[in-house]
């Protein structure tokens, strides 16, 4: 049915291509009903443009034929997925590393390393409990939170930092000739004269703006939005969630202070773990206690004793390096 004459026709619209892709996803899912199959046939017959779009679906499908007919196709697909996984984890690092001039860190052996080497391989990184201030060549200041890593790619036409993991607070220096970009796996940020923090979490990025403004552009959909001072927003590679007032805690850590404003204890402890190299455990019955106040994160002993004085908890030390927080037994 897909004839060459179709090539002479104009390209299908984006909407029609999208419909074809959705039909494909449904028909191959193993869940399409007979009625849906019929509906697809009607869709296909309805216009030449639809047929033209389906022609592309078929061409893409053909590329998979050598794999589909192979008796070891699952081995092929698992090899592909394995590499995808590794590379998703390494993508950020590699991009940064390759621009380090004069460095031969990354031979084939380096490539084979696992993600545990991720932090030390970045341009700048911090260990557990370490907060570091970087003064970059253009006068920009970056505070790197504990267990974070960033790569610097300054070029004649633009200044770029890549957040590989963790969190940073950036205070940009003005430079009218070079824009300031922060890239993350989920999208990029363009600073519009500014002080802001960027935090990379498992499935999204949190941006909080304290001065100036920042433009978010998501990696997948390219959606853009400007976040003004005093606001923060989360985004994934496909969408930007609605902005909310900026959390002062996302800035305070740069001064070594963690601000808790009515958060569950479990959240505070999760945060504290970034600053404590031992093991910090929290019993479930104490997890939901509400916490207020400012805590000196780099002084774990001080922070825990402050918590102990305001909350009905007790801290046990089963052995050095393990601090266990539990609800205080009533006497």
């Amino acid at each position: 049915m897909m004839e060459q004459d179709h090539a002479q026709l104009t390209e299908p619209s984006y909407q029609v291509m999208e419909q074809a892709a959705e039909w494909f996803a449904l028909l191959r899912s193993g869940e399409a009903t007979a009625a849906q199959q019929l509906a697809w046939q009607q869709w296909l017959q309805a216009s030449v443009e639809h047929q033209r779009a389906w022609f592309y679906v078929e061409r893409i499908g053909q590329r998979f034929e050598p794999i589909q007919v192979s008796p070891v196709r699952s081995a092929a697909v698992s090899a592909f997925c394995q590499v995808q996984n590794q590379q998703a984890r390494r993508r950020q690092v590699l991009r940064g590393l390759l621009v380090l001039s004069g460095s031969s860190l990354l031979g084939w052996a380096g490539w084979q390393q696992t993600t545990q080497f991720r932090l030390p391989m970045a341009d700048y990184h911090t260990a557990t409990g370490e907060i570091r201030m970087l003064a970059l060549q253009d006068g920009t200041h970056v505070w790197l939170n504990a267990l974070s890593a960033v790569n610097e790619q300054y070029q004649p036409h633009q200044r770029q930092l890549t957040l590989v993991s963790g969190e940073m607070l950036v205070q940009t220096a003005p430079d009218p000739s070079r824009q300031f970009i922060v890239t993350t796996p989920y999208g990029q940020l363009r600073a519009l004269g500014t002080r802001f923090s960027v935090r990379l979490e498992d499935h999204h990025v949190l941006v909080a703006v304290y001065d100036g403004a920042v433009e978010i552009q998501t990696a997948w959909h390219g959606t853009t939005q400007i976040i003004p001072a005093g606001s923060q927003a989360r985004f994934t590679d496909e969408r930007i969630f609605s902005a909310e007032p900026a959390d002062p805690a996302r800035e305070a850590w740069s001064r070594g202070i963690l601000i808790a404003q009515d958060i569950p204890l479990t959240e505070l402890i999760t945060e504290l773990r970034r600053y404590y190299s031992g093991h910090l455990s929290l019993s479930p019955d104490a997890a939901e206690l509400r916490v207020f106040g400012s805590y000196p994160v780099t002084d774990i002993e001080q922070t825990l004793s402050m918590l102990e004085s305001v909350l009905p908890i007790q801290i046990q030390v089963p052995f050095p390096g393990w601090k266990r927080i539990r609800l205080k037994r009533s006497t």
Binding site: Q4, A20, A21, G30, I60, S70, V72, A76, L98, W108
Partner: protein, 186 residues
């Protein structure tokens, strides 16, 4: 020295080659740790530059090196990507029962198909690409893919549709650039 933008592309290439060939090869050698790979990629960089000259011309030695280094970076990444895919495929094959082992020629065909698909899916998130390749390559149902990747069937459906759309658009662009392919392909 690299001459100004008044120079023809051809002349430019000659100067570029003479001035920077050795430097680029040494630079690549440091990165790749293998002199034959470094030599191959150095050639590839210049061949690509002949086919597609730098859009704004290269007006100083520093500019030329920055441009060459950027190209070479991209090509290192491609090379590593191809190598790691090949490596993973060979390892995966090694675990297959002897009886199923495909012929050398079939092995190469599968690897080539994987590498082509990898190129197509280059800019996509890993989960989406994996879901698509499992679904289409292994003809797995949404439920099977969902179990394998630990995501919902709804997400699988969404990934498959959006990856397919992405591929279709690349394919359309590709065909628009070279309509002759169609005569052979269909």
């Amino acid at each position: 020295m690299v001459k100004g933008s008044g120079q023809t592309a051809q002349g430019c290439i000659e100067y570029l080659y003479a001035d920077h060939h050795g430097w680029l090869k040494a630079w690549l050698l440091r990165r790749l740790g293998n002199s034959s790979d470094a030599a191959d990629l150095t050639q590839d960089v210049f061949v690509r530059l002949i086919l597609r000259p730098a859009p704004k011309g290269l007006n100083s030695s520093g500019e030329a090196r920055a441009y060459l280094r950027r190209m070479a970076n991209g090509m290192c990444i491609d090379l590593w990507r191809r190598r790691s895919l090949e490596q993973a495929w060979l390892e995966s094959l090694a675990h297959q029962p002897e009886a199923l082992m495909p012929s050398a020629e079939q092995q190469v065909m599968v690897l080539q198909a994987l590498q082509e698909i990898d190129q197509l899916l280059l800019s996509l998130p890993a989960k989406a690409a994996s879901a698509f390749v499992m679904a289409v390559g292994c003809e797995m149902s949404d439920r099977e893919v969902a179990e394998e990747l630990g995501i919902s069937t709804r997400m699988v459906r969404k990934h498959v549709a959006r990856v397919m759309l992405h591929c279709m658009q690349l394919e359309a662009r590709h065909l628009a650039a070279d309509p002759g392919i169609l005569r052979v392909g269909s």
